[in-house]
Amino acid sequence: MTVPAVEFQHVTKRYGAVTAVADVSFTIARGTLVTLLGPSGCGKTSTLRLIAGLEHPSEGRVLIDGQDVTLASAAERDVSMVFQSYALFPHMTVLENVCYGLVASGMRRSDAAAQAADKLALVGLAGYERRLPSELSGGQQQRVAVARAIVLEPKVLLFDEPLSNLDAKLRRRVREDIRDLQQALGLTVVYVTHDQEEALAVSDRIVVMHAAVVVQDGSPRELYEQPQSRFIADFIGNANLLPVVIEQVEGPNARVRLGSMTLDLAHRGLGPGRAELAIRPQGFSLYRRPAGDGEIDGRIAKAAYLGSHIEYVVRLEGVDGDLLVSDPDVARPLAAGAAVAVAIAADAAVIVPA
């Protein structure tokens, strides 16, 4: 087995009484792009800073490339970081910024300048060497920050919410650029974001954190289709969560009761009793008629036209909580107050522990 690029062994980080990272363990394989995903305050940025050496763990060990670097300072680790604010040195030109790390590690200035110019060309900024950071646009500044980090050919490259200061259009392009660069150079990248769409789009693997612990760790498809908790289902898939009762388990399937309706779904290790049903907004069909078999009656509470689809808030008969339903049929909108029959596509629903 190859040595992982990064390994966390039971790492805990406390700030006074606050625990930012609690007993977190994971490994990151070489040449992969792994995203740390979670809502703000979940400990993902602290985890990133622990990898960088900007914070040091209260307990546990951090290994980079198989070596214990738990006590090593940021300057001693072979890790580079692209900051959320880019952190370009305002008093240095673009070229000086990119050279900085090379010169700090003892390279001759002329050699450093040549390498830096190469990397600037790689990110499409040839000809901008003499500019000051303040003379560049936000997207250009971001690319300088990337060039500055990759010129050191680090074992691990860290991104702290790299897209948060860019406008929506640019975000999509930049995240593709980052993914292309990572694939082309075979880099190990750890990427922090709170945007699940961004995480799904770029990652080989996603580590989801919540309240200082890792709640699930897997490929984008696993997280989206097989959430292990209602938190993941809600956070990744924006799923509707409805209280259900598992009536019996038979073979691989469980019989689940929701209001007046029963569904046969994969049991996923759950036994009879209370559970939650997670259904993605796209997993419903709405019909203008009373509910038939395997359907449930509902009423449209709100409707919002979003161009490509219509979002309905639907209130179900005999079930607590509203449903968010995304309907691609924009040609035949339903009005608020309309009675509908709701059907659930079995492949869009999973049961998770209550």
Binding site: S73, E76, F89, S105
Partner: protein, 697 residues
């Protein structure tokens, strides 16, 4: 993978080498010590055997290079034994350069040991810097203040005597209230407090009037206000008292004019509390103005616009919105002026007459016929208690009550103009006060070039020649004027203190703002508190603490430089912190992740960005060193006299012409220094995004 592993091992070897040089080559004791400037090794082998153990930690460190705990222990043991033997074994001369460098090396070795154990994120430079800054503050602020506390409890022979302390601290010369019942004079503590309260209140009012005029009205001459705000920085503290004497003294310009034209008899009213109050107001109002200007500008205009849209008029808006928002700022301005007034020494000395305050009483207890250092210590404790109480009130009570309403977002609102009656009232205060200020500085600038201000307006160069004559003698040109010696000493000492003060201040600011270490909050508090220690107290404590080995420094230029560095460092700290908090931390972190250590980061990233703060603290360090009088009046010697002390001496003998010429020269020097340093340090080379740039494709 760990990059650049070798550097910390190189560092350890380098500091072991420094320690070896200190032990083998540098003079261990003061240069004038008996037996000549010999290094430790010579003294140790020549009979002072207790010095030899100091070599052990250095040898131990070479063996313990890779054992952090042992390295820390070696450095710590070296430092500890240095201090223990220094204090415990009497009869040794004061420590010299060798001991200083040895202490530095031992500290750094201990720092490397601690860094390798994971302190300060494993950065030896940071650990070392924290240790050095804390250590030097302990030695040069903590130790003297502790000495003063101890000596207050000792009789003149050095025996503990609590009764004597109880007696002295309750003495009627400090706390007496005889003046209320028609007696001669009240105690100096009451005098000081009364003066400080009056000056604090009035200068806050004056400062508010100036700030309102400046921030909220279209005052036609904004430059005048700006110039006025710089004046107290470049004016030696006693000069205003001197100018007031020349204007309102018994033979002052105004007094004589009033007598000749209106028949009002001359009197000595200016000497004492009234004159002192006016002098301190002139000196401290600009400070209050700056504080309150900042407060007023911090009130977001949108608050006031919101009030107006809620149908409140200008006056109601001021009463109900603006005033409550600036109230903590007013309290702050009051406390600052209060502390300044208590600490002021030059003006009470110059114009106080028989009105004694704490700071002057301390001076006379030391230099007067009584020569009672115990009494001086007691008075210093009372003064220190007052200023520290005010300082604590300012930090703890006001700290949580400031309503800075400037948000990070741009505020497009316009400040509300003043209500008309308020505007008129402010102008009625500001304009006469500006006239008085102008008269004061006018007298200083021209007073030295007439025979006698007030009585004989014949132009003369007599005083200039006495002070600054350059004559041709047998050996060529030489500086014949009486002022040259003290002026050159002053400039030398101030120039030496300038980079040290700024460097230590900025380094401390960097540590406080950017590094987390145990006891950081306490450390910050103590450094800021040293700002609240009056100069007279520093002066007395220095002569008590540094008159005897192991730290025997009195009579040297070094003690003057040290006094300046530790008196003026807090301004460097404040400027540095203010500037650093505007620089995003991610810049340092980016530098660290790019493989640069803290020292490189500081040098290549932080310092270039901090140039304005460096300029500020350099200017301030220089100017304060030139204008300071309260601390150094205790510390000067025949060999090292300073300009300010010389001027105060001349003025005491009534040689006002000479004093005023010299003061004017000092002010001119300081204005040029201010402009020069600003030109040299230059502007920040950071484009801001506000300036639209043409981007070439």
């Amino acid at each position: 993978m760990i990059r650049a592993r070798g550097t910390s091992a190189h560092g350890i070897w380098a500091w072991i080498a420094v320690g070896a040089v200190a032990v083998l080559a540098l003079p261990w004791y003061r240069l004038d010590a008996a037996g000549g400037p010999l290094p430790l090794i010579a003294h140790g082998l020549g009979g002072r055997f207790w010095l030899l153990p100091l070599v052990v930690p250095l040898i131990g460190a070479t063996a313990a290079r890779n054992r952090p705990r042992w390295l820390t222990a070696a450095g710590g043991a070296g430092l500890a034994w240095l201090l223990v033997q220094g204090f415990a074994i009497a009869g040794q001369p004061g420590l010299g350069w060798g001991a200083l460098v040895y202490a530095l090396a031992a500290t750094m070795l201990a720092a490397y040991g601690l860094a390798r154990q994971g302190w300060c994120k494993g950065d030896a430079f940071t650990v070392g810097a924290v240790a050095l800054v804390c250590g030097s503050i302990l030695v040069f602020v903590g130790f003297p203040v502790a000495t003063i506390l101890v000596s207050a409890f000792q009789d003149p022979d050095g025996q503990a005597d609590f009764l004597r302390f109880a007696d002295q601290i309750a003495d009627s010369s400090i706390w007496g209230l005889a003046c209320l019942s028609g007696g001669r004079a009240c105690g100096v503590a009451w005098n000081s407090l009364a003066l400080a309260v009056v000056v604090g209140l009035l200068s806050t009012l004056l400062g508010l009037a100036f700030a309102l005029i400046s921030a909220r009205s279209r005052f036609p001459f904004p430059r005048i206000l700006k110039v006025m705000s710089v004046l107290p920085v470049i004016t030696p503290p006693f000069v205003i008292g001197l100018a007031l004497i020349l204007l309102f003294g018994r033979v002052g310009m105004v007094t004589v004019a009033l007598r000749d034209w209106l028949g009002i008899p001359a009197s000595r009213w200016i000497y004492g509390m009234p004159g002192l109050t006016i002098a301190q107001l002139l000196a401290f109002t600009p400070i209050s103005y700056l504080v309150l200007l900042g407060v007023l500008q911090g009130v977001s205009p949108s608050m006031e616009e919101a009030s107006q849209t809620l149908r409140a008029g200008r006056w109601m808006t001021f009463r109900r919105v603006t005033w409550p928002l600036i109230r903590p700022g007013l309290a702050n301005a009051f406390l600052i002026a209060f502390i300044e007034s208590l600490a002021d020494f030059g003006n009470p000395m110059m114009i106080g007459g028989n009105f004694r305050v704490l700071s002057t009483s301390i001076y006379f207890a030391v230099v007067g016929a009584a020569h009672d250092q115990g009494k001086a210590a007691v008075l210093a404790i009372v003064l220190l208690a007052f200023t520290l109480t005010a300082f604590l009130a300012q930090r703890l009570w006001l700290g949580r009550r400031s309503y800075v309403t400037v948000a990070g977002k741009g505020d497009s609102g316009l400040p509300l103009p003043l209500a008309r009656p308020l505007h008129v009232a402010c102008l009625a205060i500001v304009l006469p006060w500006l006239a008085l200020t102008a008269a004061v500085y006018g007298v200083i600038l021209v007073g030295g070039f007439v025979k006698a201000v007030g009585t004989d307006p014949t132009p003369t160069l007599e005083y200039v020649m006495t002070a600054f004559a350059i004559k041709q003698g047998a050996g060529g040109w030489f500086l014949a004027g009486s002022a040259w010696s003290s002026l050159l000493t002053t400039l030398q000492v101030a120039l030496l203190a300038m980079p040290l003060t700024a460097g230590l201040g900025i380094l401390t600011a960097y540590l406080l703002n950017r590094q987390n270490f145990a006891g950081r909050a306490t450390f910050e508090f103590l450094t800021m508190m040293s700002f609240a220690i009056p100069g007279t107290v520093i002066g007395v404590s220095y002569i008590l603490a540094f008159n005897v080995p192991p730290f025997e420094l009195t009579g040297t230029a070094v003690i003057l430089i040290i006094a300046f560095v530790f008196r003026n460092m807090p301004v460097g700290i404040r400027a540095g912190i203010a500037n650093l908090s505007q620089v995003d931390r991610s810049l340092d972190e980016a530098s660290l992740t790019l493989g640069a250590r803290s020292a490189t980061t500081l040098r290549r990233v932080i310092l270039p960005i901090l140039r304005p703060a460096i300029a500020t603290s350099m200017v301030y360090a220089f100017v304060r060193a030139v204008t300071s009088v309260s601390a150094v009046i205790f510390l000067i010697s025949g060999e090292y006299n300073l300009a300010t002390v010389y001027i105060v001496g001349r003025a005491e003998f009534g040689e006002y012409g000479l004093a005023i010429v010299y003061s004017a020269v000092l002010i001119v020097i300081m204005v040029s220094a201010l402009l020069l340093i600003q030109a040299l340090v230059g502007e920040r080379r950071i484009g801001r995004r506000t300036a639209p740039q043409v981007v070439k494709a």
